[in-house]
């Protein structure tokens, strides 16, 4: 037999790959697919607004019964007031996998260039219907409309219909309408939880949700404070590997090693550049494209191990800041106490990250054995696989809450927000974050910081109560003492004993305001 008979080799398009393996992107069943499609669209809508300083207004509508005899088909419609998408990019942005505006070093909710396309793919597999996109950019005078599907074999968009209209007002943004086979009853609780948590992390957004039962939920914005939009940055040298170096070298326009280091990385100035080149024992004027393989390996090693770079710049990251976190927690959870801590930027494998931690205590939060954990990554709520998340480990295993005067069950919620140009998810489903030591460490420091604030709060409240408690704790016994003693020692009156004893207490606790024993004791019987 010949091998050719046995084996036929061929290659697969990314669309076909994900078509065959849709469950790995979270589209494993109708309930999950419905939930996943809604959030992909909402996250794109938020990215199109807050990343550009626009206060988001997001309208979401989920309708059932839209196709006769197909009760399992839902129509998802999401509208934003974002920057809009240039018409030339719309087909690929919605109907070509691994095509995105987000493949740069800048924090956005989406990162993989997969999410919304998977929703389109799942939609066309289950209903055969194209996705409808309307969009207008900010300065454009027209609105563009497309009906699109994906050609799976070639991973290219198919344009079913294309149109444009003149704008009558200054609306800009994007509207996406998608038919999908789903299961609202099983998806419902997760969808609502998703919106509630989104409202916590983005209190500056107004979100209106209409569900298939025509129930409308209106999350009104509670602040106009917004996080600073992220900027694109260059890679930090600590995150470099051999392959990344090779890519940078092949793309660079610099012609000397010295310039290459200063231009293509953040955190390297003239002095540092010199030091690095001396360590390499190379000519600073050498053309970087002329480096040998061994030299590139050595450069990678030196960049990884050198300890005097400036820390990575947080410019690429769009963190919320302590103020917004507190507003979000307060407006949704209605607690008695809130605290927040935004950590200094850190780096893992060359990716900058910022950890933000919030804490809410008391008030309307129901007491429970485990703190209510609100996990977010790049402003995305994470709902599934909580126990395999690094934050769960920190909050429930690393931290001994009793050290912070918290007695369980406690009315305690902990928010953990991780911002990074690269979130280390455990899967494409974007639900839990891996145990990266650098991140775990920052989360733990952040939680300890807010926990310390909570402890101060609990301790202060406690002390104020103590002085009064002490005085009451003595006065309440006066009637029994006076009565007992006067019944044994017949020549002394109850009243005079009682008065003398009360005077003794007032002398000891000078700040206590009682006028007589009767202010404390109601009855003795």
């Amino acid at each position: 037999m010949s091998v050719q008979q046995l084996e036929r080799f061929r290659s697969l398009s990314p669309a076909e790959f994900f078509y065959r393996n849709k469950e790995i992107a979270g589209f494993s069943n109708p309930a999950r697919a419905l939930y996943q499609s809604i959030r992909e669209l909402v996250e794109n809508a938020l990215d199109a607004t807050d990343s550009y300083g626009i206060l988001p207004v997001i309208k979401v509508s989920i309708d059932s019964g839209v196709i006769p005899d197909k009760p399992e088909v839902y129509l998802i419609s999401v509208e934003d007031n974002g920057i809009g998408i240039p018409p030339d990019n719309i087909p690929q942005a919605f109907a070509q996998l691994l095509y995105s505006s987000k493949y740069v070093l800048r924090q956005t909710r989406g990162m993989f260039g997969i999410g919304v396309k998977m929703a389109v793919l799942y939609s066309q597999i289950t209903t055969g219907k194209p996705v409808e996109v309307l969009s207008s950019t900010i300065n454009s005078s027209r609105i563009y409309m497309f009906r699109l599907s994906i050609d799976i074999k070639s991973n290219k968009p198919v344009i079913h219909h294309k149109a444009s209209f003149k704008k009558s007002n200054d609306w800009h943004g994007t509207i996406v309408k998608l038919f999908i086979e789903g299961d609202w009853n099983r998806a419902k609780s997760k969808v609502y939880e998703y919106f509630k948590r989104t409202a916590i992390i983005a209190p500056y957004a107004t979100i209106i949700l209409k569900d298939p039962t025509d129930n409308v939920v209106y999350f009104k914005r509670s602040t106009t404070l917004m996080p600073r939009p992220p900027k694109e940055v260059k890679p930090h040298p600590h995150g470099v590997d051999i392959e990344l170096l090779k890519m940078l070298i092949s793309n660079t326009t610099t012609t000397t090693l010295k310039e290459f280091l200063m231009e293509e990385f953040q955190g390297i100035g003239e002095v540092t550049s010199k030091t690095i080149i001396e360590l390499l024992k190379l000519d600073p004027n050498k053309d970087p494209k002329g480096l040998s393989n061994d030299e590139i390996e050595l450069l990678a090693k030196v960049l990884k191990e050198f300890n005097n770079f400036k820390p990575p710049r947080p410019d690429s990251l769009s963190y919320l800041g302590e103020e917004i976190i507190k507003i979000g927690l307060e407006s949704i959870l209605k607690p008695e106490f809130v605290a927040a801590n935004t950590r200094k930027p850190g780096v893992y494998e060359g990716h900058a990250f910022i950890v933000e931690v919030g804490l809410a205590y008391g008030g309307n939060i129901p007491p429970s054995e485990e703190p209510l954990l609100l996990r977010f990554a790049n402003k995305i709520p994470l709902l599934y696989d909580e126990r395999s998340d690094v934050s769960w480990k920190v909050v429930n295993q690393n931290i001994d809450w009793s050290l912070y005067e918290v007695e369980k069950p406690a009315p305690l919620a902990v928010l953990v927000h991780i911002c990074s140009t690269k979130i280390p998810y455990k899967g494409v489903g974007k639900e839990s974050i891996a145990d990266v030591p650098e991140i775990e460490n920052e989360i733990e420091k952040g939680v300890r910081e807010v926990a310390r604030e909570l402890k101060s709060y609990i301790v202060r409240k406690r002390k104020e109560r103590e002085e009064v408690e002490k005085a009451v704790g003595i006065i309440k016994y006066i009637p029994d003492i006076a009565k007992s003693l006067s019944s044994i020692v017949n020549d002394v009156q109850y009243n005079s004993l009682s008065n003398e004893l009360f005077k003794l207490v007032l002398k000891k606790f000078k700040n206590v305001k009682f006028k007589s024993v009767d202010d404390v004791v109601v009855s003795v019987e």
């Binding site: 029994d480 003492i481 004993l497 004893l501 000891k508 009855s523």
Partner: protein, 387 residues
């Protein structure tokens, strides 16, 4: 009709006087604007000392000050004067309260406004454990035992033997009890010993063994006074035994199960209970001798050339494996000063090595005659007892 004994009338009068004098002092402090303070010897383990000479557990010199203005002590201060007034009133009214009565009589609810204005309720005491502890404090404070305050309690101790006593206004012949026995009164200090014809006293831990020995005529045959404490001895039985020892100079032997619980009964009779060491001076019998059952009775002891009383197969069937808490208990006992004789240490070490307990019943199972006519007389004869 004369209902109560003339003895009781005298006792009452004295108790009332002592209470009045002692509490007058507190009243005087208050009227002088001072923080009224009850100073009493500490009833803690660390303030319990073993008097080697008198062979008694006694309270040491440490005192505690329970003052009205001390937040942690204020409630106990109140409870102490409350308890004193209840007892004072019972004495006045010719009553005989029990400690349970005293708990009820003093229990009531104080309603007061808490720091946040809510009306809260607090009981003067919630459990008898609490009020009992206050009674003990009071006994120490006024230096009188509860029996002297005519506080009664249930009483398990029984006695038979050739002896006549006066109790209340009666004379009782303890050798004429038939198959039954005389149940000792709760205030044995008021008993008068009239005449006795006995060579020693034998205390048996277990009532059922007491019944067997009594029925078989043991005390008659061996001229003994036979007593049972029916388990852990109550105060009256302890005081009764102490008086037999002290006033009649009779040797006192005790027979308990061979286990730390049995040895502890011996210890309570002999030394007093650790938590109640203030009573020891009146209740303990330092001259008590432990007759058995000793671990060496079961296993023998080659060091003192003693052969066991039990055969291999008897041991197998009668022995009970010691539990974790028995072992723990034994290790505590061996540290008490009064168990630190070479003989006691040897016996407890046999126990710890074999981890084996034995009940007295195992000896009667071997044969009542064995217990009555071999084991007890032989051990007394060869002085195989421990001090």
């Amino acid at each position: 009709m004369k209902l109560t004994s003339s003895v009781d009338v005298k006792v009452r009068k004295k108790a009332l006087e002592v209470l009045r004098d002692r509490f007058k002092e507190l009243v005087n402090q208050i009227l002088a604007g001072e923080n009224p303070t009850i100073v009493i010897p500490k009833r803690t383990l660390s303030n319990t000392v073993y008097d080697e000479g008198r062979k008694l557990l006694l309270l040491g010199p440490d005192t505690l000050s329970r003052s009205f203005l001390d937040v942690r002590e204020s409630k106990k201060f109140m409870q102490t004067v409350l308890m004193a007034s209840i007892i004072y009133n019972a004495l006045t009214n010719d009553e005989y309260p029990t400690i349970r009565d005293l708990f009820y009589r003093g229990k009531h609810t104080i309603r007061y406004r808490g720091p946040e204005g809510k009306v809260l309720g607090e009981n003067t005491w919630d459990s008898q454990r609490e009020s009992d502890s206050i009674i003990r404090d009071l006994e120490v404070f006024i230096n009188m035992l509860r029996e002297e305050l005519l506080i009664l309690s249930k009483e398990k101790g029984k006695v038979v033997g050739n002896m006549r006593i006066r109790s209340g206004d009666d004379v009782i012949d303890l050798s004429k009890m038939g198959h039954g026995a005389y149940s000792i009164e709760p205030t044995p200090d008021l008993i008068e010993f009239l005449d006795v014809d006995a060579e020693y006293v034998l205390i048996v831990e277990k009532d059922a063994v007491f019944q067997q020995l009594h029925r078989a005529g043991f005390w008659r045959k061996y001229k003994a006074l036979l007593i049972t404490s029916a388990g852990q001895p109550d105060r009256a039985t302890r005081r009764f035994v102490r008086r037999l020892s002290e006033e009649l100079k009779l040797p006192i032997y005790i027979l308990t199960d061979s286990d730390p619980y049995g040895w502890y009964i011996y210890s309570v009779f002999k030394i007093g209970s650790i938590t109640l060491s203030y009573e020891s001076e009146r209740l303990a019998t330092p001259w008590l001798r432990f007759l058995g059952v000793m671990p060496s009775d079961i296993f023998g002891d080659v060091n003192i050339k003693k052969k066991p009383y039990l055969s291999e197969s008897e041991r197998r069937n009668y022995i009970i494996k010691a539990k974790e808490r028995d072992i723990k208990r034994a290790k505590e006992l061996i540290n008490y000063k009064w168990f630190q004789t070479s003989r006691w240490k040897a016996e407890i070490n046999i126990f710890l090595e074999k981890e084996a307990k034995l009940e007295i019943e195992a000896l009667t199972s071997k044969g009542l005659k064995f217990l009555m006519d071999e084991y007890i007389p032989r051990k007394i004869e060869v002085k195989d007892w421990m001090d």
